[in-house]
């Protein structure tokens, strides 16, 4: 059974092209620019409700989704913008959704916590902690029952590990060797509560000892390590080897939501600054330079491209029609 290969030797990411690598960097910038835009829209009053940003965690979605096929399934959380964007959902329609327009992915009914796009395998972001994990396992269950080779990945946080339903589906995934990847973004906090204050065992990947499949721990701020681990897990799953839990160490350098300054209470400014310095965009930019794939100006150009994509999406979204009240009850049933 394939295992997550030791870093350094024969890594799946070794065969990524220069364009792939630049693509990862671009994808991370798109996410960052996208979220900056969301914050602007929120401040301007154009975006309602709370906003859970993912600053500092851009490597996860960029690396993980690159390892997935279009027909693979994925679920994510309220903090899942990066995943549905990297999975291929139209960014314009996502942005339209997030500001509640009729041309949004859910016609404005879902909002940012509920983005769906079955065509790209996106089976929903979710507002309930761990609430969407069973959906992904169910997608894997469908693959298993049908005997096809698609897989499912669910991205969730460290805090989600303490929900009962997680235990139930991990047990079934292990029991039936379902083709699913549990991608746990361990950012050390659940809202304002630290991992140590909420789990008897803080090494998340060790908790799968209860379910009979493998858990691995990776540097979740390195998109290539993410890509490698997810690729290995996906290959194993496609080959019938069952699930893997990936504990991806990362850090949310912003607040839990837009009104949380992110430090002062539960975290020190120093801790946040330390992680900011290790943030995926900075590190991966340096990697691209080191590998001589990009110079500073190339990096800048990618950033600007990303900004332009997001700006265009914003324009599209703001021009989108307001949903008509006549359609209020559309979609209660299929």
């Amino acid at each position: 059974m394939p295992q997550a290969p030791p870093s350094g030797s024969n890594r799946p990411s070794d065969s990524l092209s220069k364009d792939d690598l630049k693509g990862i960097y671009r994808q991370m910038w798109i996410l960052r620019k996208f979220e900056e835009t969301l914050l602007d829209l929120s401040k301007a009053g154009d975006l309602r409700g709370s906003l859970h940003l993912t600053e500092g965690q851009e490597a996860g979605p960029a690396g993980a989704c690159l390892a997935l096929r279009k027909d693979d399934a994925i679920t994510m959380t309220y903090r899942g913008h990066g995943y549905y964007l990297a999975k291929g959902v139209n960014i314009k329609e996502v942005l339209a959704e997030i500001i509640g327009r009729e041309n949004g992915t859910s016609r404005g009914r879902g909002g940012k916590m509920h983005v769906f796009d079955p065509e790209h395998g996106v089976l929903g972001a979710n507002g309930i902690v761990a609430g969407g994990v069973p959906t992904a396992v169910g997608a894997a269950f469908a693959s298993w029952l049908k005997g096809d080779d698609s897989v499912a990945l669910s991205a969730f946080g460290d805090g989600a590990m303490n929900q009962g339903v997680m235990h139930e589906v991990m047990n079934m995934a292990g029991l039936w060797k379902l083709p699913v990847v549990f991608y746990c973004e361990n950012n050390l906090y659940a809202e304002m509560t630290s991992l140590e204050a909420s789990s008897g065992v803080t090494e998340v990947h060790k908790r799968v000892a209860a379910y009979g499949f493998e858990g691995v721990k990776i540097d979740g701020n390195d998109p290539l390590e993410v890509f490698d681990a997810v690729t290995a897990a996906v290959e194993k799953a496609r080959a019938g080897g069952g699930p893997t839990l990936i504990e991806a160490m990362t850090y949310r350098t912003c607040g839990h939501y837009q009104l949380d300054p992110g430090f002062g209470g539960y975290r020190t400014r120093e801790e946040v600054e330390e992680w900011k310095a290790k943030s995926p965009l900075i590190r991966f930019g340096a990697v691209l330079k080191e590998k001589k794939i990009c110079k500073d100006k190339d990096l800048k150009k990618i950033e600007e491209e990303a900004a332009a994509i997001v700006a265009e999406a914003k324009e599209f979204a703001l021009a989108g029609p307001i949903p008509s009240v006549d359609g209020l009850a559309d979609g209660v049933f299929a």
Binding site: F116, T135, G138
Partner: protein
């Protein structure tokens, strides 16, 4: 047509659907190898194999949620909950996820999942194994809620439920499994969302569903002896509700009552009474009365349980109160 029990009719519906559509799969606790605690699914494993009939661990939240994922990926799962009371264990997955997925997707996805379960008392099963909880699922929008009182309806409505592209909660009743009746052979569809007048009458309408329809019919018989002509309407689908049939009956009898064995407050009887008086105020010659399972947990002792749950006498007395 052939005569069969309610239990066999349910099995027949599941079998027809498993045959009709390879995407139909069923899972739940002890349903495959054992054939279900009520023996309803006995034999289906042999015909369809263990990738269509799947025994699960005791993980109601987990497998309910997996049903959603499976439905979104093209399967048509029938998820078995051994007792209706256990729906509460899976409530987030049922009400925050399953019931809202279509709406939250802006109508983009289909979620063809049928939950099949059974509830009801009179068995000495006490507070955690006797509940009929349909009102909880009518309250939170997004599930079709279906009951049936006869074997034929059970078959036809369950086939229709499994074929539906929205999530459906299909509720059976402990007291019904042994009930016999004529059932059409082969495919049989009773459309969702249609009530059925099970007995015509002119003085008073008794609205009911599931097992209590039988109590209502018995009461109607007694009432007939006393010179009172009672119409018995089986609501069948509780959501969406067939208010047209309700209205037609009330407009005829001008007196209505509701009978169910679930809790009274915020129950189906309350809902129906509220709608009827709202829309048909001038048609009513008397208040809409209710015979329900009260507002008490189901007690264990037989004398208490029987006193709490509806019976023919209380239905007759209530109908008499209405027509007097």
């Amino acid at each position: 047509m052939s005569e069969m029990t309610y239990s066999d009719a349910v099995k027949d519906a599941i079998r027809m659907e498993l045959r009709r559509d390879p995407d139909v799969v069923m899972f739940g606790e002890d349903i495959a190898h054992h054939g279900g605690m009520m023996q309803v699914t006995k034999g289906l494993l042999d015909e369809f194999g263990d990738k269509r009939m799947i025994d699960t661990p005791i993980s109601e939240s987990g497998f309910m949620g997996m049903g959603i994922g499976a439905a979104l990926r093209g399967l048509r799962p029938v998820v078995d909950l051994m007792f209706f009371d256990f729906a509460l264990v899976a409530m987030d997955q049922i009400q925050n996820q399953l019931a809202k997925t279509i709406y939250m997707s802006g109508g983009k996805v289909k979620v063809p999942l049928t939950i099949r379960t059974q509830g009801g008392g009179w068995k000495g099963a006490a507070a955690q194994h006797s509940q009929m909880l349909e009102a909880l699922f009518v309250h939170v929008p997004g599930l079709k809620v279906v009951t049936s009182s006869t074997p034929a309806d059970a078959k036809g409505l369950l086939q229709a439920s499994i074929q539906d592209d929205s999530p459906v909660l299909f509720i059976e009743h402990k007291q019904l499994y042994g009930v016999k009746g004529e059932v059409p052979e082969g495919d049989h569809i009773v459309p969702l969302g249609k009530a059925d007048v099970k007995r015509e009458g002119s003085d008073v309408t008794i609205f009911s569903y599931s097992y209590c329809v039988h109590l209502a019919l018995e009461a109607a018989e007694k009432l007939a002896d006393q010179g009172v002509s009672a119409e018995v309407v089986d609501l069948r689908t509780l959501n969406p509700l067939d208010f047209d049939t309700v209205a037609a009956s009330v407009s005829k009898t001008h007196r209505a009552m509701v009978v169910h064995d679930s809790y009274a407050r915020c129950g189906i009887g309350a809902d129906l009474a509220a709608q009827i008086q709202e829309k048909l105020f001038d048609e009513l010659d008397a208040p809409i009365l209710r015979v329900t399972g009260g507002d008490v947990s189901v007690p264990f002792a037989g004398e208490l349980e029987n006193a709490l749950l509806p019976n023919v006498e209380r239905i007759v007395a209530t109908a008499n109160e209405l027509v007097s």
